[in-house]
Amino acid sequence: MQRFLKVMLLLGIIFSLLIFPLQAAGTIKIGAIFPITGPIATFGISSANGVKMAFEEVNAKGGVLGSKIELILEDDQYKAEEVANAAKKLIERDKVVAILGEVASSMSLVLAPICQASKVVMITPTSTNPRVTLVGDYIFRACFIDDFQGTVMANFVYKTLKLKTSAILVAVTSDYSKGLAQFYKEAYTKLGGKIVVEESYSEGDSDFRAQLTKIKAAKPEFVYLPGYYSDIGPILLQARELGITVPFGGGDGWDSPKLLETAGKAAEGCYFSNHYSPESKDLKVQTFVKNYKKKFGETPDALAALSYDAAMLLVEAIKRAGSSESSKIRDALVSFTKDKPFRGVTGSIYFDQNRNPIKSAVIIEIKGGKQVYKATVKP
Amino acid sequence: MRILEVSNLSCAFGGLMAVANLDFYVEEKEILGIIGPNGAGKTTVFNLITGFYPPLRGEIIFKGKNIERLKPYEITRLGIARTFQNPRLFKQLTVMDNVRIAMHKVHNVHILDTLLRGSKFLEEEKIQEEKAREILEFFHLYERRDEIAQNLPYGEQRRLEIARAMATNPILLLLDEPAAGMNPYEAKELINLISYIRDKFNITIILIEHHMEVVMEICERIIVLDYGMKIAEGKPEEIRNNPKVIEAYLGREEESVIS
C-alpha cells in the first residue's frame, strides 16, 4: 500500500508540473509542431532544422521588436492525437503567438481548427491540401498548392521535352503526391499526351520492383513520380536495374541532397519542379544554403527551405505588425502584395484570398550529379 | 439401471490405438474401478466420456442419450463431473470462488439482469453463496474459503477438486487417481469420503486408481485395461486372482502395484 501511495504522489508531482506554466518573460514565444519521430521523421527533422536556423539568425541579430524569439518545438510522432496535445499545450500552457507546422496535410487539418479556435496564427510550410487554409482566416501556408506544380511539369514534359506518353507512379499515402499526379494527368491529357499506365506505392516502401516491372511493360517515354526523395532514390535505382531508361520527373519533394546520394547515376537526366535553384545567384539563397550546410552538415532540402521561409515570413509579419499579438500578425501577413511581397529563399511570396502563396516555380534537371537550372515558370 | 453404457469405443493418436473396442457399463449408484498399468488408456477413457477427445468410433450412452459428439461443457451439464490426475484448480482464485464457478450451470441469471444488478441477480448470488458454503462445509473446507487455491496443502487441493466437481451437481462422478501422492492415512480418509459422498449425494462413481488398497476396498466392480483393451472385469476378489491381470502388471516390470 505504501508503494502505491508513493506512486500516486510521484504521479501527482508530474501532473502538477505539467499544468503550471513555466513563465519566462521578455520573449516572443513561437511554437512549432513537426513529426520528428515516427514514419515521416525525416521530413519533420528537416522542417524543424529550417525553423531553428531561421530563429537563431533572427535572435543573433537582436531578435524582433526588441525581444528574442523563443522557439518551442514539439514532436507529434505523425499522430493526430499528439498534434492536438502539442497544439493545446503550446497555446494554453506556453501561450505562443503563432504555430509553425505541420508537414503533412492530414495533420495540419488537425492543427488548423485548434489554432483557428484560439485565434493563433498558423503557417504550414509544406501542407498542400487546399482544405487546410480554408479552415479559417488564421491559417496560412508557404508552399505551392498542387495544381500549379502538376501543370507546370505537364507543360514542360509535353512542350519542351516533347514526350507524348508518360506513366505515373504515385504515393497513395500522400496527399501531396496524389494531388500533383492528378493535376499532371489533367494538364497532360489536355495537351494531347497519353498516360499509358498508373501505378502506386506507399511511402516508406522499399521494394518497388513489382510496380516498375509493370511500368516497363507499358513502355512510356516519361515517368511522372511526384513523391518525396526518401522513396525516389530506391525507385530510380530499381527502375534502372530493371532496364527502364526513360527520364523520370517530379515535384519539389525531389529536392534533397539525399536523392543524389541514394540514386547516384540513376537520377541522371531526370527533371523536377522546385521553388528555387541552388545555383541561383540570389544572395538570399546562397547564404541560406551556405549557413544550412555549416550548421547541419548537409545541403537543405525543399522542406527545410520552406520552413525556413515560413519562420522568416512570420518574423517579417511581426515586424510589420509592430506587435506580437496574433490578430495583428495575421493582418500583417495578408498585407503582403504583388508589389511588396515577402522575399524569401523559395521566392517572393504574397497571399491570395485563401491565404495560399502566389510564387513562381523553376524546373531543374539533374545533370552530372548536380541540380542544373532549366527554366522558370511564372504563376 | 445402467446409467452409462460404452460400446465399441475406440480412439487413436497418430496410428496408435489408445483405446480399442472398449465395452463397459456402470450401474446406478455403483462405484466402478478402472485399473491398468501406466499408459493403458484409463485417462483417455475419461477424456472420451467427458468429450475432450472425439472417439474414432463407438458409442457412449448416458441416461439413454448419446453423448459422444457433445462438447465437454454440455456433458457436464447433463450430469457428469470429473477430477483430474493432476489437480486443475483455478489456482489464483479463492477456495470459495473455485466452488462458485462450478455452480455456474446451476445458477444462471440472464446477462441483462447481471448488468442491472436486478433483484433476481442478488437473490441468486445469495443462494449460490449459501450452497457453496454447504458444499465447503461438507468437505471441511469452509474455514479455508478465502485462501488462494494454490496455497492449500496438497491433500486439501485434492479435496477441493472433488468438492468443486460435486458443486456441478453431478449424477456420475469420474475420479482420476484421487489418492495419488497421498500417504496411507490420507488415503484411508479419502476412501471414507468417497463412499460417504456416494451415499449422501446418491451418485454413481467411476474411479481410476493405482492404490490397490483403495480400489479393492471401495469398488464394487473393477475393469482392467491394458493397451487400451479390456482384459478383465469383475468383483475385486476376482480381479485380484486373475492371471491375466497379474501378467499385465508384472510382465512389464511396472512398479509393484499390489501393496
Partner: protein, 332 residues
Amino acid sequence: MKRNYLLLILIIIFLVYLGRLARGLNPYFYQILVFWGINSILAMSLNLINGFAGQFSIGHAGFMAVGGYFSSALSVYHGERFISLLNFLPLNIAQIVVFFVFLLLGGLFSAILGLIVGIPTLRLKGDYLAIATLGFGEIVRVTILNLDIVGGPRGFPGIPQRTDLSWVIFWFIICLLVIRNIIFSSHGRAIISIREDEIASETMGINTTFYKVLAFIIGAFFAGIAGGLFAHYLMMLHPSSFTFFRSVEILLMIVLGGMGSITGSILGAFILTVLPEALRGFTYLRLVIYSIILIGIMLLRPQGIMGGKEFSPLIIKKIYARVKENENTRSK
C-alpha cells in the same frame, strides 16, 4: 433496490455535470482529461479480454478504428440529414441524440466485427491468438488505407466536434459499471475461470467459447465507442492513429496497471496519457526516455502496479478493519 438505482443515476448525472463545469479549466488540462477518459475505456475493455478472460489480444486498435471510422462516416455523410429529421427538438438536443445513436452504432458495428473475428480466432491459444489479432488490427488499418470514402491514407477530415468531457465521463462510467458488474457475477467468474484453466472451466460446465466471444464482443464494443469519442473530439481521423503501436500502447496500460484489475487499467491509462505529455520538454529525447521508463517499470514491477488487485473503498474498509483488529489484539 429502487432507491439504489436512483442514487446511481444521480451520481452519473452529477459526474456528467462535472464534465460541463470542467470547461472552465485550462483547455490543455481539459484535453488531457478527455484523452485519459478515452484511454481508460480502451484499457478497461481490453482488460476484460486480456486480463480477465486471459485471451491474449493485441488488435484493440483495430476495433477502435472500426468504431471511430464508422461513427464518423455516419456523422459526416448522414449527420445533417438525421439532425434535420429531428427538427421538432431543439438543435443541441437533436445533435446529442444523433451523436449518441451514431456512437452506439459505431460500437455495435465494432462488436459485430468482434463476433465475426472472435468465433474463428478465439479457438487459437496464447501467442497464436496474439499474432492473429495483431493481424486483424493490421488488416483493418490497410482496409481503411484503401477506403477512399473515408479519405484512405490522407485522413478523414470534417468530422463535427461532438465529444466533450461529459460524454467521456458518461461512457467511462457505463464501461466501468458494465465491466465491474460482469466481473463480479457468475458470468464474470466463468470468464475468469477461462483465464485460470480453460479445460477445468469447460469441465465445470462453462461454455468457454461463448464466454470468450462474449468478452471479446464487449471489449470490441467499448473500443468502438472509444474510437467514436476520439474521432468526434479530434474532428479528424488518420490511419496512423491506429497502427500496431496503438494496440501495444493499450496493452501497456493494462500491463502497467496490472492485468485483471479495473482500477489498475484506469491508473495505467493515466500514466500513459500523462507521461508522454510530462516528457514534452525533452523534444528529441522524449521517446528515448519514455522507452527507458517503460523497461524500467517492467523490470522493477513486472506484475504491474496494482498486480491484479482492485483499489476500491472496500479495500480501504478492509485495511481499516485489519488495523482495528491489530490494535485490539495489542491492547489485550
